[in-house]
């Protein structure tokens, strides 16, 4: 008996954007292996940029020519549906922008193997150059970010999670200055990340035990037919939640975020704060809406507590931060809380589900671009020893460089959700979706959703306080005599800030087109 194996079908066309990114990453590794040292950067940068740009173009082509497919591809492993394509587009643009930041000189260590402060390090710095391996690593991370939210079964999702995380663990430790902090952040991120992915895996095991499969629609189907109160299901769900909530930085799994964001090289922080958050949010949505959609009356009360705690922790702790990157990290935690409000806004009716999904997608878009812009500005304010992280160093920046401080103030206002910035529409959309969900008859949470939105508004107000504090600090305090210098920005950095500012202003004044795109992406919901 020798049954003939049917060759697997892989829809290369549909998967082309992701495959292009991975392919370019492998090519980048080959460049590292064979190209002479002085040529590597010259080859890597265009290769990376072109592949990311090309992948984005492929996403566009796919959307325009064929529309989103309605079936999972690659033997049911990957679901390239509307939301996934939207998230891919956002991630690709963000990572393109981040590569421009990475490309800027002076962020990455010349030789990671050299002990900080040693003669070897000086020698390596004198020799110039740096680790061009960053580029393929970054491409692998981006590939993982694309796979993670598009995975259609939990195994693929786990692999995507690891593909995304491993390069990030590495890149966190490669800062050129303050290397002890950088290495520490790398180790913390790695240990905690590995710890949390063990939880993710255990959850997967339990769900596999419950449903006999790890594919998300399979689990959903089992839920529809099987006993809902099965302890295996509940444990599995909780453990899976731990892994996913860790990645988006929801409380009480948020502790790694400030430390890692502060220690990592700022371009990588920018990538983590934008791309990783977008990808992880997409994965959260997919797991909770597709895999556990029938269980919503069960997970939503728990998620309610998590969202509330996350917003409070993020907003309250940010107040007393003295480091700009830590403050942005806490702000990112608070924003994860706002996003979770959106995740909870699900209904029986797909029409309204699409509404809240589009709100979340829109929020992700506007938030991530503003974040990248803010971190790009952080890279420009420098002390002799590297970036001027301490907030006191930012005092009076408005007098030294009104334009830079002005743009940064604008980003902060967008984080705070002040009208006429993109952030306002993001919050507005998510809160509105949550309120609509709460007023839906038969909603299990009802008034609790309103309560959550009120809590969200209060948290925004608290958050606005510390954003405004920074603005006041920049514009209304006297600059220190030996204040930080403003680095002469490279074209790349300027482009990053310009793109971020453009999106923040543009969407703030003219939100409709982007809302339309998000709405279209969300129209058919996820492939089930």
């Amino acid at each position: 008996m020798n049954p003939i194996m049917q060759a697997p079908t892989i829809e290369y066309g549909t998967l082309a954007p992701m495959l292009l990114v991975f392919g370019a990453a492998v090519l980048g590794v080959l460049v590292e292996a064979f190209a002479p040292r002085y040529l590597r950067k010259v080859m890597q940068v265009p290769l990376t940029l072109v592949s990311l740009g090309g992948a984005f173009a492929l996403v566009l082509v796919q959307v325009i020519m064929r529309g989103a497919p309605t079936e999972a591809v690659a033997m049911g492993a990957v679901a390239v549906d509307g939301p996934a394509l939207f998230i891919w587009g956002v991630i690709l643009v963000l990572s393109f922008v981040c590569v421009l930041l990475v490309n800027d000189e002076g962020h990455f260590v010349a030789s990671a193997a050299a002990v900080p402060g040693s003669a070897d390090e000086e020698e390596a710095e004198a020799a110039g150059g740096g680790h061009t391996e960053i580029y393929p690593l970054l491409l692998f991370a981006v590939g993982g970010m694309m796979l993670f939210p598009a995975a259609h079964d939990l195994l693929t999702m786990f692999v995507g999670l690891e593909v995304m995380s491993l390069p990030l663990y590495l890149m966190c430790g490669l800062a050129r200055r303050r290397r002890l902090l950088s290495q520490e952040s790398s180790m913390k991120y790695f240990l905690l990340g590995a710890f949390s992915s063990a939880f993710f895996l255990y959850g997967t095991a339990m769900l596999y035990g419950y449903a006999g499969t790890v594919s998300l629609p399979g689990i959903n189907k089992a839920l529809a037919g099987g006993a809902l109160l099965d302890p295996l299901l509940l444990i599995g769900f909780a453990m899976l939640g731990v892994g996913l909530l860790f990645k988006i930085g929801a409380a009480p799994f948020q502790a790694w975020k400030p430390d890692v964001y502060q220690g990592a090289p700022t371009p990588i922080t920018a990538l983590m704060a934008s791309g990783t958050l977008v990808a992880a949010m997409g994965a959260v949505l997919r797991v909770f809406w597709v895999g556990l959609g029938n269980l919503d009356w069960n997970w939503r009360p728990v998620m309610w507590a998590v969202a509330a705690l996350t917003m409070i922790v993020g907003a309250v702790l940010a107040i007393t931060q003295t480091d700009i990157k830590r403050m942005l990290a806490y702000s990112s935690i608070a924003h994860a809380g706002f996003l979770l409000i959106g995740v909870m806004a699900t209904f029986d009716k797909s029409q309204q589900n699409a509404g809240s999904l589009s709100a979340i997608l829109f929020y992700l878009l506007v938030y991530s671009f503003t974040t990248v812009g803010a971190f790009a500005i952080v890279t420009m304010v420098r002390d002799p020893g590297g970036e001027a992280g301490h907030l006191s160093r930012w005092a009076g920046l408005g007098k030294r460089s009104p334009l830079l401080a002005g743009v940064f103030a604008f980003f902060l206002l967008a984080f705070a959700g002040i009208p006429l910035t993109s952030g306002f529409f993001g919050k507005y959309a998510v809160f509105a979706a949550a309120l609509a969900s709460g007023s839906e008859s038969g909603d299990s949470l009802g008034g609790w959703m309103t309560g959550l939105v009120v809590l969200g508004v209060v948290a925004s107000a608290v958050a606005a306080f510390f954003y405004v504090r920074v603005i006041v600090l920049m514009f209304f305090s006297e600059p220190a005599a030996d204040g930080p210098s403003i680095a002469e920005p490279s074209m790349g950095t300027v482009a990053v800030i310009a793109v971020a500012a453009l999106v923040t202003v543009g969407v703030g004044l003219f939100p409709q087109p982007m809302l339309d795109v998000a709405h279209q992406a969300a129209a058919n919901l996820f492939i089930r």
Partner: protein, 635 residues
């Protein structure tokens, strides 16, 4: 009195359909200059000028297209896009009022752009200067062209930002940085008024659009309208440097002179007048208390500005006082209802010309005198800078209301209408005109006549052509524009579709009682100035003046007043609050803030920096999550 005609939704193409290009051109210019940065150093200023000129061309074309339409058709709304879904749409309103402003902004703006090429030629950051100028033009155009208060507000804040950036352009000077900050803070007070006014407007009518407001405003209760009107007036006072928010304008002269000419004389400061006139039909009906408040503010400011102008030795600050005063006239006119609107706008336009002319003239003088601003160090410059002298003279004659020049017609119109409506305010305006005659003559005599009192290294010379040509163009406008607009009521008929008009068209009297009194007082003022500063020797050091002089020199104690009226009581209140807070009786807000801060300070200790602690929090979180789910699942 006839009310404005309805707004016509624009459907056809034509230039009006693409009038958004007016805003887009300078915005694009600013974006290119800011983004490309130093790369554009060589040609950046040319791009700035080109963008401003392009915008001017569009404005002129739109103007002629509007002119070709019948009076009922002259309010064209151009819908652009849905701004906040279900809340507000973004669109432009092209009507006689807005297009007049657009012409002024782009026209005078372009001239000042050209002038700045010469004026800023030695500044290494000239490109940045032009990018801010372009940004300003774009924001100002949005302010006047938007068809709703939201768009207006965006422009309003945009010009505030541009003004802040430009006042502080030479940020290395501490005085410039402080002045920029002061302008910023004072303007926030006004903006707050405008914003609250808009909130009330929104909650009462549910719309920001002018078109809908004109229908719905009639249904509002009287106190509501008064409240909105007064709040809008507060906004206007902030932007237009009217009492009690006038104090920033004098300090704003720290900016480069073209900025003073463009923003702080010709355009931005008149935004308050625009706001009042534009809202006139809804929120400032004739005879209402808020309209009276506008007139009173205007009259008070025109006197205060004139008095301040008398005592300043800094040529730019003198002009700034005069600007305050002239905008006071416009406000007075705007407070008189449709009868005064045309004169107020007319004065605004002619003032835009002659004041820009004089500011640029002052800049030209400074350019030749090593940036000296003290008039006591000038004298006898007429021989050395003939073109500047002649053009400045034209502006001077226009502003004091020399018969048949621009200012004569527009100012006299305001004064006569004011006397008709309110005797007291009208005669105050006449007195103000007399004082104007004194301080402007003083400026002329101190600068261009008398003996040389220069610093030793001064070598005055005429400015380059790129600077004098705008002066000449502006002075031509200063001569003829007023008569053209006011005689036979051209402007009033032109604006009627937008702002309404009185039933009876006013007749311009060349020999009315207030008019003759004005002329007489101006002559007395000029003669007194001649006695004190033309004939007599001007001391090079400021003499100790009387109480009144000191009063004027200190800007009427505006800053001291602010301090004692607002800052002190504010501090006092704070102290009381702290006192009560300490006693734990009041200060809920303070307590809350402190509470959050304290919680934050304590909570952040959880972030110990030990990875193992974090892992513990994850495990506890996981256990809680599992427990909670099992619990919820089993209930």
């Amino acid at each position: 009195m006839e009310s404005p005609v309805e707004i016509v939704q624009h459907t056809a193409g034509g230039v009006i359909g693409v009038s958004w290009l007016m805003i887009a051109f300078p915005l694009l210019g600013a974006a290119i200059l800011l983004i490309l940065g130093r790369k554009t150093d060589r040609w950046g200023h040319l791009l700035g000028v080109a963008m401003s000129l392009a915008s001017f061309v569009v404005a002129v074309l739109a103007f002629f297209e509007l002119l070709g339409l019948s009076a009922e058709q002259r309010r064209q709304a151009v819908h652009l896009y849905e701004f906040i879904p279900g809340m507000a749409d973004m669109g432009l309103l092209i009507d006689p009022l807005s297009i007049s402003f657009a012409l002024l902004i782009t026209g005078v703006g372009s001239l000042i752009h050209i002038y700045s090429i010469g004026y800023m030629s030695h500044d290494p950051d000239r490109r940045r200067f032009f990018s801010y100028l372009n940004l300003f033009v774009a924001a100002m155009l949005l302010l006047v062209l938007a068809d709703n208060y939201l768009g207006l507000f965006i422009g309003w804040e945009g010009v505030g930002l541009a003004s802040y950036l430009l006042i502080g352009f030479w940020q290395f000077k501490p005085s410039a940085a402080v002045a920029a900050k002061k302008a910023f803070v004072v303007n926030r007070v006004g903006d707050f008024g405008l914003l609250v006014g808009m909130f009330i407007m929104w909650s009462a009518t549910g719309t920001f659009a002018f078109a809908e407001l004109s229908e719905k405003a009639g249904g509002l209760s009287q106190p509501m309208v008064t409240a909105i009107g007064l709040l809008l007036l507060l906004g206007a006072c902030g932007k237009s440097a009217q009492l009690p928010l006038q104090s920033w304008l004098l300090d704003a002269m720290e900016g480069p002179t073209p900025v003073s000419a463009l923003i702080h004389a010709a355009t931005m400061v008149t935004a308050g007048v625009y706001l009042v006139v534009r809202s006139g039909a809804f929120f400032f009906p004739e005879g209402s208390p808020q309209a009276l408040a506008v007139a009173i503010v205007g009259a008070a400011t025109l006197l205060a500005g004139a008095i301040i102008g008398c005592a300043k030795d800094d040529i730019k600050k003198g002009l700034a006082g005069s600007t305050m005063s002239q905008i006071g006239y416009m406000m007075l006119g705007a407070g008189l209802g449709p009868a005064g609107y045309a004169f107020a706008i007319g004065h605004l336009i002619t003032h835009g010309f002659f004041k820009a002319d004089m500011f640029l003239g002052a800049g030209s003088v400074m350019h030749g005198m090593n940036d000296e601003v003290d008039m006591r160090k000038y004298g006898a410059l007429r021989k050395y800078m003939p073109i500047t002298f002649v053009t400045f003279m034209v502006g001077y004659l226009a502003i004091i209301g020399f018969p048949l020049l621009s200012g004569y017609f527009t100012k006299d119109g305001i004064i006569e209408t004011a006397v008709e409506h309110n005797q007291v305010l009208g005669w105050l305006a006449v007195i103000g005109a007399g004082i104007t005659g004194f301080y402007m003559s003083r400026m002329i005599f101190m600068t261009f006549f008398g003996e040389k009192r220069w610093a030793e290294d001064a070598h005055p010379h005429e400015s380059p052509t790129v600077m004098t040509v705008p002066l000449i163009i502006l002075s031509i406008g200063s001569i003829f524009l007023g008569g053209y607009l006011i005689l036979s009521n051209r402007l009033m008929l032109w604006l009627a579709p937008a702002v309404g008009r009185p039933e009876e068209l006013p007749q311009f009297h060349f020999a009315s009682t207030p008019g003759l009194a004005t002329l007489a007082l101006v002559a007395v003022g000029a003669a007194y100035a001649w006695m004190k500063y033309g004939r007599a020797e001007v001391p090079a050091v400021q003499p100790r003046g009387s109480f009144l002089t000191t009063f004027a020199r200190r800007d009427l104690y505006g800053d001291a007043l602010n301090e004692s009226l607002f800052m002190r009581p504010g501090q006092w209140l704070t102290r009381i609050a702290v006192f009560f807070d300490n006693r734990g009786i009041d200060g809920v807000v303070n307590g809350l803030a402190a509470g959050i801060g304290g919680t934050s300070g304590r909570l952040r200790r959880i972030q110990t920096g030990f990875a193992r602690t974090y892992a513990l929090s994850i495990l506890i979180g996981a256990a809680l999550l599992t427990g909670a789910l099992l619990l919820v699942g089993n209930i």
